[in-house]
């Protein structure tokens, strides 16, 4: 295979997006309006093409195929490669992106600045693909920084005061985090046994050299963890995410529930398993610190989600807690841990994007953003709420849905880790068991914050007044039978158009399929875990 192709998925959308942006620079408003239709085709074709290339690469790339784009400095190269873990991430985003573009086209219809929106949306695809394809820590760091740049215009997009505030905070946090991640990069470079920062399963630290400065390195690992953890919304660095929900829903859904935050988590996985290496970290105080941080985040995120009445912000808090599931699993520093982390990464991607898209569909169709306004919408938007129900149950971790599989593997990893740690590392070994308890507490909270929405949708309280405020329901509270007799206006179907529904349905189906037939995935993940730890 021609290895040059490895850089295509990263560069094609970047170039496409930049081209679109420059193209949009010229011409007057009227002319740009006319280009609207073409814009969609442009975005769709580039996205689809890129996804196809990604899939082609996923099937065709063998182990050890690498492509060096250029040499940044010394041994720091911008290098692309696609190993199994990268394939999982790449496969995930390549499915999500075309559907999200489809969704956003209807969602963003009538918006004046679609050129900007889609150009940055495309660029973000390239950057995220770059993260999946990066072959060393340097490249990962590069794309990690680029990701901040490519996504902040999208947060800023509504151009309101809140948006400015949100994007400001997003930038500060991300760049600040990158500053600490940078330290990790430098240390890996200095202490690596290969002389560069390439990702190798099991890490590349020169253990002899590293053990001599063990505490320093562990401290730096911790700093780098929190640095990348900014995007993965670990507890003290989480505050940008709830604010960032001011962005349009396709952004919140795809970027702030999947691409951006998962990139952070992916970076941490790379750092832990492919750079520092679990042999070095296992049993150290850094492991327990990381685990404790993830647990604190889970507790915090899920509790805050219950308290939050704004739907999208609630989902954002849910993302915070769910991302830390991934980190907690990865903190087990074991093959099972990595497999579980990746499993939850994939599962959560579909569940959360589905829930966000449902929220977006409701916002788009009815303009409702707060939970208490949703009374009775379940009957008016059956497909949307059906998908939401599936996503909610999956998030809670009800069996037969994808979420159960991932939680199952996380708990399994935690137990396994706990048993081993109890034997080898003494009292700290209790922590993994506590992790399971945290997982279950969070699952309960998830049930609270997700199911209240669903129940409100399907079973509105009889006295509910807000139901009257629905756009096309007249003031009287109609009983079931009466409403049957008045089809159309009174009980009109508020489900959005097909290009918003299709992604929803696809995601719901994927959740179910992943829940029922997870073996191909889990087997692959087990292999990855076995290699890397």
């Amino acid at each position: 295979m021609n290895q040059v192709l490895l850089c295509v998925p990263a560069l094609l959308p970047l170039a496409g997006g930049m081209g679109l942006l420059c193209f949009g620079l010229f011409g007057r408003q009227a002319e740009r309006d006319r280009r609207e239709k073409g814009l969609f085709w442009y975005a769709a074709i580039i996205t689809l093409a890129n996804s196809l290339v990604l899939w082609w690469l996923i099937f065709r790339t063998g182990e050890g195929e690498r492509f060096v784009l250029f040499r940044l400095y010394g041994e720091l190269k911008v290098m692309f490669c696609l190993d199994k873990m990268g394939k999982v991430f790449a496969g995930m985003i390549s499915v999500l992106w075309p559907l999200a573009v489809l969704y956003s086209f209807e969602y963003m219809k009538g918006e004046k600045r679609n050129v900007t929106f889609f150009s940055y949306y495309l660029m973000t695809y390239g950057v995220t693909a770059g993260i999946a394809l990066s072959g060393n820590l340097m490249t990962l760091y590069l794309f990690y920084e680029l990701l901040t740049l490519a996504t902040f215009p999208l947060v800023l997009f509504p151009m309101t005061k809140e948006a400015r505030r949100a994007s400001r905070r997003y930038l500060y946090y991300s760049i600040g985090g990158a500053a600490f991640a940078f330290l990790g990069l430098v240390f890996v470079l200095t202490f690596s046994s290969t002389g560069n920062t390439v990702f190798l399963p099991g890490g590349i630290l020169d253990l002899g050299k590293a053990n001599a400065r063990k505490n320093t390195l562990l401290f730096i690992y911790l700093l780098a963890f929190f640095g990348f953890g900014v995007k993965a919304v670990v507890f003290p660095c989480h505050r940008w995410l709830p604010l960032a929900t001011v962005a349009p829903t396709p952004v919140t859904a795809l970027l702030h529930a999947v691409a951006v935050v998962k990139s952070g988590a992916f970076a941490i996985l790379r750092l832990t398993y492919f750079s520092f290496g679990t042999a070095f970290l296992r049993g150290s105080w850094a492991q327990w610190a990381v685990m404790a941080a993830a647990m604190a985040t889970i507790l915090y995120g899920s509790t805050m989600a219950v308290r939050e009445a704004h739907w999208k912000r609630r989902l954002a808090y849910s993302t915070i807690s769910n991302l830390s599931y991934i980190l907690m699993a990865s903190a087990m520093m074991s093959p099972l841990g990595l497999a579980a982390a990746l499993c939850h990464m994939v599962a959560h991607a579909f569940m959360k994007i589905c829930s966000f898209f449902c929220a977006g569909a409701v916002m788009h169709q009815t303009g409702k953003t707060y939970i208490y306004e949703l009374d009775g919408l379940g009957r008016r938007m059956p497909v949307t709420f059906g998908c939401l129900t599936v996503a909610s149950l999956s998030l809670i971790g009800i069996p037969v849905f994808a979420g159960f599989i991932s939680k199952w593997s996380i708990a399994g990893a935690a137990f396994h880790c706990g048993m081993e740690s109890l034997e080898s590392f003494g009292k700290w070994g209790v922590l993994p068991f506590a992790a399971v308890a945290v997982l279950l507490y969070s699952a309960l909270m998830t049930a609270m914050y997700m199911l209240t929405v669903v129940i409100r949708g399907y079973f509105p309280g009889r006295e509910s007044t807000s139901r009257k405020a629905l756009p096309s329901v007249s003031g009287t509270d109609l009983s079931e039978g009466q409403r049957e007799e008045q089809p159309g206006g009174q009980d009109g179907n508020l489900d959005p158009g097909w290009n918003m529904l299709l992604p929803l349905v696809v995601f719901a189906v994927v959740i179910l399929v992943l829940g029922l037939h997870s073996q191909p995935l889990t087997k692959l993940l087990t292999v990855i875990g076995g290699e890397a730890a």
């Binding site: 069996p399 399994g412 309960l444 129940i455 997870s518």
Partner: protein
């Protein structure tokens, strides 16, 4: 997929019928067709259950993950619970046809009623802990609409309370499941628990896991400390729903504990540990507390709900002793309580349906309104109290004997004492209605009854017949307990 597909039919058929009712727009308008589908699902479910119970079937449906499969199998416990569920469901189904005419959204009720039946069957037939857990969660979710049915603010609040308690319990139990999955590896139900597992160095976490499961699954059975949902959720549901919730669905918690303790963890590993002590203590506490609260409760359905809290813990007490006689007593109490409590709730529902009375003190002179119904109520009450010929006596006798034989130190005599006190309290809260109903006293002139033309307004046969059947069964089982006890003894021998 391998094994006999017949195991799937009792699960799938009611669920499909239920979904048809829920989604079919035409069905909502055409009541006859609706009822047709409803009874098709009910009887079909019951029929195939009967068919499935006949043999030793096994079904491996689907591999969920590499190590976790969806398995069904039939054993003694499954037979007992499945048969009980099918019978009760059929009877209450008949009752509800009339009862639901004075509630809205009856199609929704029927739909979910059927789905819950299917899910319960799945629960009963589960062959491993994961499958069991799947259906356990599904029961919570599918029975929720039954609780929420009224959609009043109170009902929604109660529904949410039910939901969160159940899910919290399930997750507590999930902790244990995780533990067993990683240590046991294979979670198939084996009578007496898996043997060849080395617990060295892990006893602490093992016991913690089991205790979590006891507490967690105990939630559905209304065991202290997670019993709070039961007295809130059961009374707000429509009467047939309360009946099955109280009489059958609480038993799914019991089934869960049977499966965990006797089929996974193994009673031998638990005997004499702090987990057993704690469990016994909790059950006795619940027994006593439930009766006390019921005694003080004026609203009929709430009183019955508290009674359920107390009575189901009789069963759990019997299980917690880890002793064959008590085990038999516990399982027989599952059956007897189920029959009696269903009868009681249905009777209370009939009162509401006919008169709108909900409080016990309103029901003076009920004997003049519906004597047959009150008679059924009395029979069921007697059974629950444990007056000798009626069935409750048998189970309580076995429980007390088992307790004395169990050798659990102070518990073996404290248990029977508390059971006795509780029985007295049971008589105290159930029988006054009978007395006031038949013998309202000299000062009762029945003027109000006459005014509202309530005299002699026995409910229709569709409502009366199921109650009658249940009450009679509750009494008759006490007179002829032999076959049932024989079967239970065989189960007990297998697991202990």
């Amino acid at each position: 997929m391998e094994g006999n597909m017949i195991l799937l039919l009792p699960v799938v058929l009611p669920v499909l019928a239920g979904i048809t009712i829920l989604t079919g727009k035409n069905l909502r308008k055409n009541r006859r067709m609706l009822l047709g589908v409803f009874f098709f699902g009910l009887t079909g479910g019951a029929f195939f259950t009967a068919l499935a119970l006949g043999g030793e079937y096994h079904l491996h449906l689907w591999q969920l993950t590499e190590y976790v499969g969806i398995d069904f199998q039939i054993d003694g416990v499954a037979r007992l619970f499945a048969a009980l569920t099918a019978v009760v469901w059929l009877l209450v189904g008949i009752y509800s046809v009339t009862y639901m005419t004075h509630e809205e959204d009856e199609s929704r009720f029927f739909g979910f009623y059927l789905i819950v039946l299917g899910v319960l069957m799945g629960l009963d037939f589960s062959g491993n802990l994961i499958t069991f857990y799947v259906f356990y969660e599904l029961i919570t979710l599918t029975s929720l609409p039954l609780v929420l049915h009224e959609r009043s603010r109170e009902a929604v609040a109660a529904g949410l309370k039910y939901l969160f308690y159940s899910i919290a319990g399930a997750f507590l139990a999930l902790f244990g499941i995780f533990f067993f999955a990683s240590v046991w590896g294979d979670l198939t139900f084996v009578p007496g628990g898996a043997e060849a597992v080395d617990l060295a160095g892990r006893e602490g976490i093992f016991l913690a896991a089991v205790f979590c499961m006891v507490l967690g699954f105990g939630t559905k059975a209304g065991m202290f400390p997670l019993h709070g949902w039961l007295p809130t959720a059961h009374p707000v549901a429509p009467a047939p729903a309360s009946a099955v919730l109280s009489g059958v669905i609480t038993k799914s918690g019991v089934l869960a504990l049977i499966r965990v303790v006797f089929f996974i963890a193994g009673p031998e590993r638990l005997r004499g540990t702090w987990v057993q002590q704690g469990w016994i203590f909790l059950t006795l506490l619940t027994v006593f507390m439930g009766s006390m609260l019921a005694y003080r409760e004026p609203v009929m359905k709430k009183r019955l709900a508290y009674s359920t809290v107390s009575q189901v813990s009789y069963v759990l007490f019997g299980l917690s002793l880890l002793e064959p006689t008590a085990f038999v007593g516990a399982l027989s109490h599952v059956v007897f309580h189920s029959l009696a409590k269903n009868a009681l709730f249905l009777a209370a529902g009939a009162v509401i349906f006919q008169t709108g009375w909900t409080r016990v003190d309103e029901m003076r002179g009920l004997g003049r309104v519906m004597p047959v119904m009150l008679g059924c109520y009395t029979a069921a009450s007697l059974s629950l109290v444990g007056i000798p010929p009626a069935s409750g006596f048998v189970s309580k006798w076995y429980l007390a004997q088992g307790a004395l034989a169990s050798g659990c130190g102070a518990w073996s005599w404290a248990g029977p004492v508390i059971l006795l006190i509780s029985a007295l309290l049971t008589a105290g809260y159930l029988l006054p209605l009978t007395i006031d109903g038949f013998f309202p006293g000299a000062d009762f002139d029945g003027g109000e009854l006459k005014e509202r033309e309530l005299l002699g307004r026995e409910p229709s046969w569709q409502m009366l017949a199921p109650v009658l059947v249940l009450a009679v069964a509750a009494v008759l089982f006490g007179c002829f307990p032999g076959p049932l006890l024989g079967m239970l003894q065989r189960i007990a021998e297998a697991v202990l």
